[in-house]
Amino acid sequence: MTNNASTKNVNEELLAAILDRLIPAIDDVPSAGNMGLTTEIVRLSGQQARFQGIFKNAMEIFESTNSEFVLLDSEAQVTAIRKFESNEPDLFSSLLTISYIVYYKDARVHKRIGWSGRTPQPEGNPMEPWDDSILETQREREPFWRKV
């Protein structure tokens, strides 16, 4: 399932520039392209061959139609991304999906949004136990299932 070799050629400078437009800076967290996330995006995309192929294809097509992207001003970059999103919705979706996943794995982001960052297991979460009193009203209702 894992094969990072075929994403070695991903243009990480271009990817960082796209990330800057996708997820802007906020508070003390820089824009996503300035957070050093591209290596992790390339690594993670290689964890499944199918996804990796789609992601790599997305980057290649974006680059082929936007060769000067990194030189554009931010407004023009947004326009270029919107055009790609419109023309290649599935490819753009893969790019956005992995960008969000990697951004929201970052400890700096967790700190800002107040997210623990723990994996779901093994610790799990606390919950108040079942309280039967919540059914008080429903228990007053007459049975209404259809008898046959």
Partner: protein
């Protein structure tokens, strides 16, 4: 490598194809009753300590290697499904435990009326059995799988006590429920095959991680690999994993003699058996029957009615979500096991459609899941991203609509003329369109869901009128009935055409009701196994 090997296989009483919800249940019952049973499963055992919910990459894994859609997951043991002519994609898992590995374990029962839709509403067909005939098997299955829930639901008939109290409702659940209370509508805590306390062999209580739909690390969610299979193996049943069945073999007299399969090393094998039980789900079973052509059965095995693969039913899901102003830690607790509403379950013809629907209440997960949309569109990128993420995280609750989808012959599984799995076996192809009755149900449910969400205080409501990746419930493709011209198997799951061939998965459903089907699938599997024990001792060697 294609070495056909028969010598290592002795004849077993029964070969079961598929080790999931139904295959596990039937194998355990038959083995405990002294039958020599072997199961062929194309997937493998799962190690719960390696489930992705404990991985740093769990949010990526959820969308890729642990995705419920086999066309997305694309593991070696999966087979492709051509779903280009279906608005609903199939969702399943191949492995010991089958789709119970990834299910939400939401386990309501059919209603008595669900078995009598022709008599009551003049649509589809009645089942050849009644709720009362199935009830004892529902109870037996609950005991093995372990049900958390509580008696007293006015929308359902009285029944035996559950094994455990309900799972906690949570602050998020209470919020959603408040809408139903204000409207005077029914709701009830979910029946779930998830431990609310320790139950079963080595199975802990749920620790509310929120991600058991990727396999339950805690072994609190019931799946047949940790419930039925240990019992089956202790009783002498055997299972071969990585075994992909190519076809069922028939002798000159028209009786099943076993199955040809490809083992995990790529060798062609044949398993001899006195009877065959199909438990490969509502897509896998018709696929295999249609692939099992012979001179005696040129259109596929057990297909004299022409109905193998026909009458495919899903439960097309609409999903209606709302964003609440409160922060409610919505990632705490099982994703889909808060409660349900069956206010609109039974037919009321004033609504403009027959039959009805269930609402299944849903939580939402963490920031990456929320950013990527969850049950709605992704959080917009660019300016405004952070504000929208802030609004949604911990505040989105949803209601899934499970509507009763009636059988129609043009909705079907057949064989794709070109697509194959990695062993060259023809893959299934879906042809499915949503009926007007089902669409009208969903539209009615959407409007009422909006009312409930607003009554609960939701501010931003989003409607997905029909989720594409929602084909969990695969039903109807080898339906049961008394008339061999109008059904594939009889009321015991025994083929009308081949008296030692049985079907026990969702394929046998006559209609689909408006609830998650697995407890009914398992109850039917146990009932078929019981029939074999009581009436088919001739199948014992």
């Amino acid at each position: 490598m294609t070495i056909r090997n028969e010598s290592s296989n002795e004849t077993v009483d029964i070969v079961v194809i598929g080790a999931g919800a139904s295959g596990g249940a039937a194998t355990a019952w038959l083995a405990e009753s002294g039958f020599k049973v072997k199961c062929l499963e194309q997937g493998y055992w799962q190690d719960s300590s390696k489930y992705a919910s404990a991985s740093e990459d769990y949010e990526f894994e959820m969308l890729t290697n642990w995705a419920p859609d086999p066309n997305v997951r694309q593991r070696a043991e999966d087979y492709p499904v051509n779903d280009s002519n279906s608005p609903v994609t199939p969702v399943m898992f191949n492995g010991v435990g089958g789709s119970t590995i990834l299910w939400t374990a939401h386990t309501p029962r059919f209603h008595p009326s669900d078995f009598r839709v022709k008599t009551l509403d003049g649509v589809a067909d009645d089942w050849p059995i009644s709720y009362d005939e199935l009830e004892e098997f529902y109870d037996l299955n609950d005991e093995v799988m372990g049900c958390s829930g509580i008696n007293g639901d006015p929308a359902n008939p009285p029944r035996s006590p559950r094994q455990m109290p309900p799972l906690p409702i949570g602050n998020d659940g209470k919020k959603l429920i408040s809408g139903f209370e204000k409207l005077g509508w029914h709701w009830w805590p979910s029946d779930s095959y998830i431990n609310s306390q320790r139950y079963g062999e080595g199975r802990d209580a749920c620790n509310f991680c929120g991600h058991n739909h990727m396999g339950c690390y805690q072994r609190a969610k019931s799946s047949t690999d940790i419930t039925y299979w240990p019992r089956a193996l202790r009783s002498g049943a055997t299972i071969e994993t990585g075994a992909r069945v190519r076809r069922i073999i028939i002798d000159d007299s028209g009786r099943a003699t076993g199955a040809d399969y490809i083992d995990s090393k790529g060798n062609e094998q044949h398993q001899k058996a006195r009877a065959v039980i199909m438990a490969a789900n509502g897509i896998g079973t018709p696929r295999l029957l249609l692939n099992s052509t012979s001179d005696s059965y040129p259109t596929g095995l057990a297909n004299s009615s022409g109905l193998v693969g026909k009458n495919l039913m899903f439960h097309p899901f609409a999903m209606i979500s709302g964003t609440f102003p409160e922060k409610m830690d919505t990632w705490q607790g099982p994703l889909g096991n808060i409660g349900l509403s069956q206010e609109f379950y039974e037919t009321d013809k004033r609504r403009g459609f027959v039959r009805g629907y269930t609402y299944q209440f849903q939580r939402s997960l963490g920031p990456a899941w929320i950013a990527n949309g969850g049950f709605r569109n992704p959080v917009p990128w660019g300016e405004g991203h952070h504000e929208e993420l802030r609004k949604r995280l911990g505040s989105v609750m949803a209601m899934a609509v499970i509507g009763e989808d009636l059988p129609e012959e043009h909705n079907m599984v057949d064989l794709d003329p070109e697509l194959t799995d990695s062993d060259g076996i023809p893959a299934p192809r879906l042809n499915y369109t949503l009926s007007k009755n089902s669409r009208d149900q969903l539209d009615h449910a959407i409007e009422n869901a909006k009312k409930a969400l607003k009554a609960a205080g939701a501010e931003d409501i989003f409607v997905d009128p029909m989720m594409r990746q929602s084909g969990w419930h695969l039903m109807g493709t080898a339906r049961m009935g008394n008339d061999p011209e109008k059904s594939v198997v009889d009321k015991w799951g025994q083929s009308h055409d081949v008296d030692n061939l049985f079907v026990i998965d969702g394929s046998v459903f006559v209609t689909g009701a408006a609830v998650n089907p697995t407890p009914t699938i398992q109850a039917l599997a146990l009932r078929t196994a019981d029939y074999i024990v009581e009436h088919r001792q001739d199948l014992k060697g």
